[in-house]
Symmetry: C2
Subunit: 218 residues, 2 copies
């Protein structure tokens, strides 16, 4: 899949972070300019990394007074495809699914959460955090109607692969998967597995090793 993409996943993640930083600076600061080392410091990166990333979105080298915040913000937004609306849907209305509906629903006005789905009849035919909830049996029809391109999976691990196939058959080309299982998709579909358990186990691993080190020092 990597060969199909010229831009790395990490670069896109960083540009997403720069964009939100620039948006916040644009709204609150009187200074219309910013240096790459200022962005770097606010993002915990090196200035060289920031300059490389900004070249990706069309800025080759900062002038003596820095980059223009408004122009950089426009370019980052345009790079991320924020010129047109993206329709999204979530499958799995448990605690995590509901929290993500709340988290994502107004975060980006161009990301429209059109629908949520669940297999449990008790969880559907209602509106949660502004998002209409449907039975999962209606997934294909509803996704086709709303022209959904992006799916979020928050079902249990054993249901996730089947849901992914259904999303792909319904025309979804990008999936953010929270189910703690490796999901297979066709090569023309992008999948991001966000494994919360691995993230916490990693933090615990390094937390433990750091504190062990502290203890040996004493």
């Amino acid at each position: 899949m990597a060969a199909q993409r010229k831009i790395s996943e990490r670069t896109v993640e960083r540009i997403s972070r720069y964009r939100r930083l620039l948006e916040s600076i644009h709204a609150t600061s009187d200074n219309p300019f910013i240096y790459s080392h200022e962005i770097a410091s606010l993002c915990g990166l090196t200035a060289a990394q920031v300059r490389r990333d900004l070249m990706t979105i069309g800025f080759s080298g900062s002038s003596a007074r820095g980059y223009e915040v408004a122009e950089l913000l426009r370019s980052a937004s345009s790079f991320l495809g924020f010129s047109h609306e993206r329709r999204m849907a979530l499958v799995g209305i448990g605690y995590l699914g509901r929290a993500l509906l709340d988290y994502f629903v107004d975060r980006n006005p161009l990301f429209k959460l059109c629908a949520a789905f669940d297999a449990d009849p008790g969880k559907v035919d209602r509106v949660i955090h502004g998002v209409r909830c449907y039975p999962v049996t209606q997934l294909k029809t509803v996704l086709a109607t709303h022209q959904v391109s992006t799916g979020i999976i928050t079902v249990p691990a054993d249901a996730a692969q089947n849901i992914a196939w259904e999303l792909v058959e319904a025309g979804v080309t990008g999936i953010l998967n929270f189910a703690p299982v490796q999901i297979r998709v066709p090569a023309n579909v992008f999948i991001e597995n966000l494994d919360l358990t691995s993230a916490l186990e990693k933090v615990a691993y390094f937390a433990g090793n750091f504190s062990d080190k502290e203890r040996t020092k004493k």
Copy 2:
């Protein structure tokens, strides 16, 4: 910080995934052996990558009949530090915080979620998903009592840095941060920023580019 660690973050994440896979296989399969290529296929990785990672936890090369599942599971658990309990706390009892309490509370018996905190008096002095909720003013006392080493931050962006300092002062050496902001911690503290917005924007970016490609082909 990287110089302090011999093991990469990605390696620890993968070993966390192998461990859960092995646990599931150990519980459900009659075959006591597994080949590296089988693990690789189930995790969406190459067999060479799996063998390199397993060398990290003390296995140099798979024999003709493969690795012994039970032994591999024990080694992965031991590597991840699952021989002793880790005490954890969460700060920020909003929708996401509550969902994560539910998600993490019984996921790993050695990860003990001891406490949750919030600045809103209406959200504390109760038990949510089995976890006791305290006013954030009691953070230091409660964390000291329970010897908490790992913190999870789910407060709004503008409160996250202060909460991180308080966690560190209370002895926390590892933080999983969900607030969409770059948090600074001392060099002896490990921080993982899990930026849900970047993750979704990345998926939307590649989903859009894949479908554009599909469209041009037609």
